[in-house]
């Protein structure tokens, strides 16, 4: 039994919404328990200053940002070392899925705001951004689905919350293209044995499949009824 009463392989309660920002081309909000991420996608649009333009392909720009009120102790606003790195990591995990070559000289801007942080913020952000991209009508090879796994008190667990994240022996952020079965993000912190790692990756994959089903259901439901 874990700190919030879950079994080791249980995900937290997941809620997803799309099209919450009317001025964005696509947007989404994803909640993993107390972690709340909002993503907005703008573009493809013209890219300025011009020296950033690539004549053969479009580019993807990502920003991951934590709100000052998202954590217990106020986080000083603005980009810091951590969020700059996470922005890049998120960009690299989303980039392979987008047909950027269809938009030479243009940019697609993705913004992720963490409204409330309780562990696994980067994977929540990736899930939100992937939904936002799909709802913006951007051509993609597949959706991107992410989740975190880790090890605490020698137990392998799925979807770490903040408390677990701070006290874990190891944690892994993991993102896949679910219907292609390709990994786009794999980051590990801590110490793990080989068997444990393999076991954890399998757990992460099956959790991602659960999340993928939810993403699929949400996007299809948007256009049914009413």
């Amino acid at each position: 039994m874990r700190i919030d009463g879950r079994q080791p392989e249980d995900l937290r309660e997941i809620q997803m919404k799309i099209d919450i920002i009317s001025s964005a081309n696509g947007s989404a909000e994803v909640k993993f328990g107390n972690t709340v991420a909002v993503a907005g996608v703008y573009g493809p649009k013209g890219l300025f200053p011009r020296h950033l333009q690539e004549s053969e392909t479009g580019i993807l720009r990502c920003r991951y940002n934590m709100a000052p009120f998202s954590v217990d102790e106020r986080k000083s606003p603005g980009p810091d070392r951590r969020s700059v790195e996470l922005s890049k990591v998120i960009r690299l995990s989303i980039e392979p899925t987008i047909f950027l070559e269809e938009f030479p000289r243009a940019t697609i801007d993705g913004f992720i705001e963490i409204i409330q942080a309780d562990g696994s913020t980067r994977v929540t952000g990736i899930n939100a951004l992937s939904l936002a991209l799909a709802s913006a009508g951007i051509p993609m090879r597949d959706l991107v689905t992410a989740c975190s796994v880790g090890k605490i008190n020698d137990t392998l667990i799925v979807d770490l919350n903040g408390e677990e994240d701070n006290n874990s022996q190891a944690d892994i952020s993991f993102a896949i293209l679910p219907s292609k079965n390709l990994v786009t993000l794999l980051q590990m912190d801590g110490i793990l044995g080989k068997e444990e790692l393999i076991e954890l990756l399998n757990m992460a994959k099956s959790s991602c499949e659960k999340i993928y089903e939810m993403q699929k259901k949400l996007l299809k439901e948007k256009y049914s009824g009413e």
Binding site: G43, P104, G137
Partner: protein, 218 residues
């Protein structure tokens, strides 16, 4: 109410079976996958997916509504509601002979003017040229502009122009839809026409929309 089937990026649309690939799809292992969130269109010749959202990407032959952005030396720069701006060369816009060194091109089109024109050229790197050398091309005077999702324009026109002629007749407005998602409206009952256009955009996936719009406008 009946709703058409929807596919997501990465979902299999169909086996290829030697058919042509249309827009919104890509090939992998002889299976055809969707690139976008949209409605699949499969027949014996072609497989494509019509996206439900997205920006306008110019294609040769599209009839669009543009707004003059800038007057340049030998033509105009045109905003075509897309990530890319288009260029309208002087020779593609004006038929008469003009001494270019002495005339100011704003005599013909000035910044802010609205034109109905055709995309005549798009390069690999999406440098776009438009032309007024077309039967239907013209400058649009007054009227209002409504922007909608470009992929919904065929729905606004309807099968064989059924939807657009319905809206024109019922509201006594002149409505010109540009394939870039810009709709130009001028006439008596503008507000009603705008409302109708926006309803079609919002509920384009519903079967039997023409009847609904007819009811709404009467």
């Amino acid at each position: 109410m009946k709703v058409k089937e929807i596919v997501l990026p990465g979902e299999v649309v169909d086996e290829r079976k030697g058919r042509k690939l249309g827009s919104g799809v890509y090939l992998g292992d002889d299976k055809v996958f969707s690139k976008v969130l949209g409605i699949p269109k499969v027949d014996e010749n072609e497989i494509s997916v019509i996206a439900l959202s997205g920006v306008y990407i110019p294609r040769v032959g599209d009839r669009i509504i543009g707004i003059i952005n800038e007057v340049e030396i030998s033509g105009w720069s045109v905003d075509i509601n897309s990530p890319y701006t288009a260029f309208l060369p002087f020779s593609e816009a004006v038929e008469e002979f003009v001494d270019m060194s002495r005339t100011d091109l704003s005599r013909y089109f000035d910044i802010g003017d609205t034109i109905y024109c055709k995309i005549s050229k798009v390069t690999k790197n999406k440098v776009v040229q438009v032309s007024m050398n077309d039967m239907s091309a013209k400058k649009l005077y007054s009227g209002v502009i409504v922007k909608v999702t470009p992929t919904k324009i065929p729905r606004i026109i309807g099968r064989g122009g059924s939807m657009i002629s319905l809206m024109k007749n019922k509201t006594k407005c002149d409505i010109i839809p540009g394939q870039n998602g810009v709709v130009w409206i001028k006439g008596e009952d503008k507000t009603k026409a705008i409302e109708a256009v926006l309803t079609v955009e919002k509920e384009s996936h519903i079967v039997g929309l023409t009847e609904k719009i007819e009811k709404m406008l009467t």
